[in-house]
């Protein structure tokens, strides 16, 4: 050993010991992660269920099966956060408590999260390669969700609902003075109807038809091709209606379901990815969400578009 090394060693040894002690110490900081009872497990054909169980259940069910290396802090802390957040957004163990439309929506969302490479989380598949979803698995899942999408010609109930709503809708009639406000403080903006349509979508996953509107700032940004990120002041409104299809396959909008907004301000809305999110349902404009945390749902589903400023729509210009 050289003389120069010894002061180094004198420091290194205690530092190492300290780190070791700290490592052992943090193992006692182990917030419990329990497996609550399975109240209504996900049901699907075996091939589908196997994929979901293998790739998703560790974070999205009450049957989390942590391996020894998941239980070592600090990895454990992240794992347990993932499981808590994962279960909050999607839990296959309480599947039967969701209405069937919501179940379908979660499945389409799941397939899309997989297609976009967002799920299963890459941090996780790194340590659990068996959870990776192969191209063949994806094909199985796609085929399954596609088989759930049925968009038959509109029945009388749907036609009547649309007709009733149309009759009660009085454009130009005096609106109530109280403007509806979402739980995060964003108010309904009636002016969206005067914005420009930047796209339309036929959603065969949930039987709706939609128009996406952009305000003047959005339209200018599209023309100037400055849309990633979108400039502050950009506003989108997406309107969804039921599809009314006839036997010839002609689809027109039926009952109005909702309008959703995304308002860009990277300062004001820094906590929610730079966007103010809001959804108002039915022509009565009922604000969506129990509390301000409803935006988590919006953000989680828009998350795969994070490299595109959280925006799905590829806008067209007029």
């Amino acid at each position: 050993m050289s003389v120069a090394a010894s002061p180094f060693r004198r420091l290194l040894l205690p530092a190492g010991a300290l780190l070791g002690a700290a490592f052992v110490g943090i193992q006692f900081i182990h917030p419990p992660l329990e497996n609550p009872p399975v109240t209504g497990d996900f049901q699907a054909p075996v091939a589908v269920k196997n994929i979901v169980q293998r790739a998703c259940y560790d974070c999205h069910s009450n049957q989390t099966n942590l391996r020894w290396f998941d239980k070592v802090a600090p990895v454990y802390w992240q794992v347990s956060d993932h499981v808590k957040e994962g279960r909050a957004g999607l839990n296959f163990s309480t599947w039967q408590s969701m209405p069937s439309d919501a179940q379908k929506a979660k499945l389409w969302e799941s397939v899309n999260q997989i297609l976009a490479g967002a799920m299963p989380l890459s941090e996780y598949t790194l340590a659990h390669p068996e959870a990776k979803v192969s191209a063949q698995d994806v094909a199985v899942l796609k085929q399954y969700v596609a088989s759930l999408a049925k968009n038959p010609p509109a029945d009388t109930a749907k036609l009547n609902a649309a007709e009733q709503q149309y009759q009660h809708w009085q454009p130009g009639a005096v609106k109530p003075t109280a403007v509806p406000v979402a739980p995060n403080g964003i108010a309904y903006l009636p002016d969206y109807k005067n914005w420009q349509a930047i796209s339309t979508t036929e959603r065969f996953d949930n039987g709706t038809i939609r128009v996406v509107f952009g305000n003047a700032v959005a339209v200018k940004a599209i023309r100037e091709k400055h849309i990633n990120p979108w400039p502050n002041g950009t506003a989108f409104a997406k309107v969804a209606w039921d599809q009314l299809a006839d036997t010839e396959g002609n689809v027109r909008p039926g009952a109005f379901k909702q309008v959703e907004y995304m308002l860009k301000d990277d300062q004001k809305y820094a906590a929610t990815k730079g966007w103010g999110w809001a959804r108002f349902k039915t022509p009565k404009m009922v604000p969506y969400g129990k509390d301000a945390l409803f935006t988590t749902e919006c953000i989680n589903c828009h998350q795969p578009m994070k490299n595109n400023d959280f925006v799905f729509t590829q806008p067209l210009s007029h």
């Binding site: 454009p171 036929e202 849309i227 002609n250 027109r252 799905f312 590829q314």
Partner: protein, 159 residues
């Protein structure tokens, strides 16, 4: 020593995977109207939107205030000064959402204007522009049917 580039490469490969195929900052160029057409100058608002599953097309109906009022009123309540436009696209799968179809190639723009009826001029003028460059179509086949179709559409509920 050798491990570093390998580890770096692996990391890069991993991050490349998680960045995946989502296209970024993209406009829908195929579906866009030629700027020279100056569609915005018409000052129209969205009235409704349609899909034709057999033909795999999607369309958006626009109108000015007069056209909107007429469409809301009793059928056949046409008045002079109405402008209606129907833009039709071929559909394409949404690259960002399995479960959705969005406008693809621009197919046509139909423009209808009503004027006071007189001996010299019909009360309804109909034009159809086709293709990516929206070239005015010369043949007038099916015009009457298209006029009737356009005037029969009800606006979608937009509260």
């Amino acid at each position: 020593m050798k491990a570093t580039p390998i580890a770096l490469g692996a990391l890069l490969a991993l991050s490349a995977c998680s960045q995946h195929k989502v296209p970024t900052g993209q406009r829908n160029a195929d579906a866009s109207l030629p700027a020279a057409f100056n569609f915005n100058k018409l000052g129209l608002r969205v009235l409704s939107t349609f899909v034709n599953r057999r033909q795999a097309t999607t369309a958006t109906l626009y109108g000015n205030d007069l056209a909107r009022q007429a469409a809301l009123g009793a059928p056949g309540a046409t008045q002079p000064g109405e402008v209606l436009a129907l833009i039709t696209w071929r559909q394409q799968p949404d690259p960002n959402w399995f479960g959705a179809r969005i406008p693809g190639a621009l197919q046509s723009l139909e423009l209808l204007r009503t004027g006071p009826a007189s001996a010299a001029r019909p009360a309804v003028r109909y034009q159809c522009f086709v293709g990516k460059d929206l070239v005015l179509k010369a043949d007038t086949l099916h015009q009457q049917a298209r006029i009737a179709y356009l005037l029969a559409q009800k606006p979608a509920v937009l509260p």
